[in-house]
Symmetry: C2
């Protein structure tokens, strides 16, 4: 039996805890420890599930011990004994750790909240796994960018894409965030176009011509995108359907059969059928797909808490050269029960 | 091996589907079939999980068949072959089925959305299981009333209760309900006091002196209650803590250790630790418990989607005389993994 690679996780919030759970489900990797700043219910969950906890400072460690939570050491101790670090710290914080990670010569996976320059390459498994193979440092793009890349790359083999226009209706905060808004507004985010998502998509597929616009609304469940893709030649709706159906990590939701026409109902169904109500797949509304000559329009929904989780697992495999693209995607999806079904 | 009693479920919404899942986890009962009006993702879930589907009319059945969902018959067919029916139809609709249930001589469990007179007795397992034993028809009181009864009955043995005052901050709609509000208001519900909850508590424990006031706010996660209980004699905080700790189906959340101070965080932690993120237990905020001579005040939170689920299972056992109070509660809690832990 091959030994498992040791994955450290810095940050145990929305993304960090999900990546940790996902890592421990794989055959070829294991969580060596997590780094956490504050003792809370997530720390208690980590402990209950046998994960070692490390802190940034001794003072932080004292706070854990005061609450009866055992601490295994400081972040340096963890980095010394790990093969790779997944940085899941808040937006912009990851880059402040870059020097420390480099000091220990450890490979690193960053999240999309960091600037692209933090890593050697920005990453989406379906779009550029091979280019990321063996890279010391990989940045998994954000949830919205991941959603856009999934559908674009799934459709890109049908015909040359001339232009992508997307309007992003973003959730205001994650479900447990009680200090973020808005609670009664539609916020243009930003007013000036395009939003940063267009540029972020281009960090993975630089050849694409894309414009994005984004608003933030008072909901915590999922993002919704309206996507318009113009191809160089006429396309058929059946080809679009076929491409979505055969692509990994995309669910086609049939609103006629399921009655689902909202993020609320998507999540409600996911609670019945998926762990934690998480949806690692991009959800495309089948009945919204409308083709006009060489242009297709559709709605898609992105579960911001979990869509990047399988990408993080694949990024670990790519960085450490553990397996090739299709093998990694297939293994990740099997272990995470990503089955392209919502009901 | 004793044969399992056959439980029919009429209605497969928020409560009905959870009761159905819970019934099939018990050793002494099984879902004989569910009655559903519309084919949707919940129907697909029922089918996927091997439950037989019945409809009210042949026309409804046609709608299911059009969507490729097999129907096993009409509600009359199901009632004929079942031992008991759990009515989980919308508020006030249950009583319109009462005559049909009686026609087939079947025992019945109703929900708190019906008036108390719909059944022989209103029910909470901790408070009046023995009185409900053998009753042909039992009404499980609503989620808010269940929450109030859990804490009142847990504390009622400490000293005589002179008065209960409770302010209920209610969730506006269930998570999947996209047509209900408010989205930006605090609704006095009703303005005139008391709210109906006080009367509803008295349907189970008529001896209690209680007043309740309720407002509705724009959230879908849980209700929160502020409860004040005045005893006839001086009480100690430790006795309150001990009573809550030893009572079934009550969780004491430590906000200092867990950082939990909101329904958002309760649900976020439940998603990590409990099925569907459901919390069958009443959640009492330990750090809110404040004693002043013979009066105690505290906050508690009620998961409206799931708190009545174990009560429905116990009501089935009480009605059909399957087992005594403590045995039923213990068995229900074991099978539903009700472990008094949130993290």
């Amino acid at each position: 039996m091959k030994s498992k690679v040791k994955v450290a996780i810095n940050g145990f919030g929305t993304i960090g805890k999900r990546v940790a759970i996902a890592v421990n489900k794989q055959d070829d990797m294991i969580v060596s420890g997590i780094v956490k700043k504050k003792p809370d219910y997530n720390a208690l969950f980590a402990k209950k599930n046998g994960m070692n906890i490390y802190t940034i400072t001794e003072k932080d460690a004292d706070e854990f011990r005061k609450k009866g939570i055992e601490v295994n050491g400081l972040i340096d101790d963890l980095l010394k004994e790990s093969d790779i670090i997944v940085d899941a710290t808040p937006d912009g914080v990851g880059e402040t750790y870059k020097e420390l990670y480099n000091k220990y010569g450890i490979n690193s996976i960053f999240q999309g909240g960091e600037e692209a320059k933090v890593a050697d390459i920005s990453f989406n498994a379906l779009c550029n796994y091979d280019e990321a193979y063996g890279k010391k440092s990989i940045r998994v793009v954000s949830c919205n960018t991941t959603g856009l890349l999934r559908s674009i790359c799934a459709l890109s083999s049908l015909s040359k894409i001339e232009k992508v226009n997307a309007v992003l209706i973003r959730r205001g905060a994650d479900p447990q965030e009680i200090k973020k808004g808005p609670i009664n507004s539609i916020v243009l985010n930003p007013v000036g176009l395009p939003s940063h998502h267009a540029l972020d998509v281009k960090t993975v597929i630089p050849w694409i011509n894309i414009s994005t616009a984004a608003v933030v609304v008072p909901t915590t469940l999922m993002h919704v995108h309206h996507v318009t893709i113009k191809f160089a030649s006429r396309i058929e709706k059946n080809d679009i359907l076929e491409a979505f159906m055969t692509s990994p990590r995309i669910i086609l939701v049939d609103s006629v059969i399921s009655g689902i026409q909202s993020t609320s109902q998507i999540i409600d169904s996911a609670r019945l059928n998926k762990e934690r109500g998480d949806i690692n797949e991009l959800v495309v509304f089948k009945d919204s797909i409308t083709v006009d000559n060489n242009e297709v329009q559709f709605f898609q929904a992105v579960h911001q808490e979990s869509i990047v989780v399988p990408e993080n697992i694949d990024a670990i495999r790519a960085s450490l050269e553990l397996s090739g693209k299709l093998e990694s995607i297939s293994e990740t999806d099997k272990k995470l029960n990503i089955n392209k079904n919502l009901y």
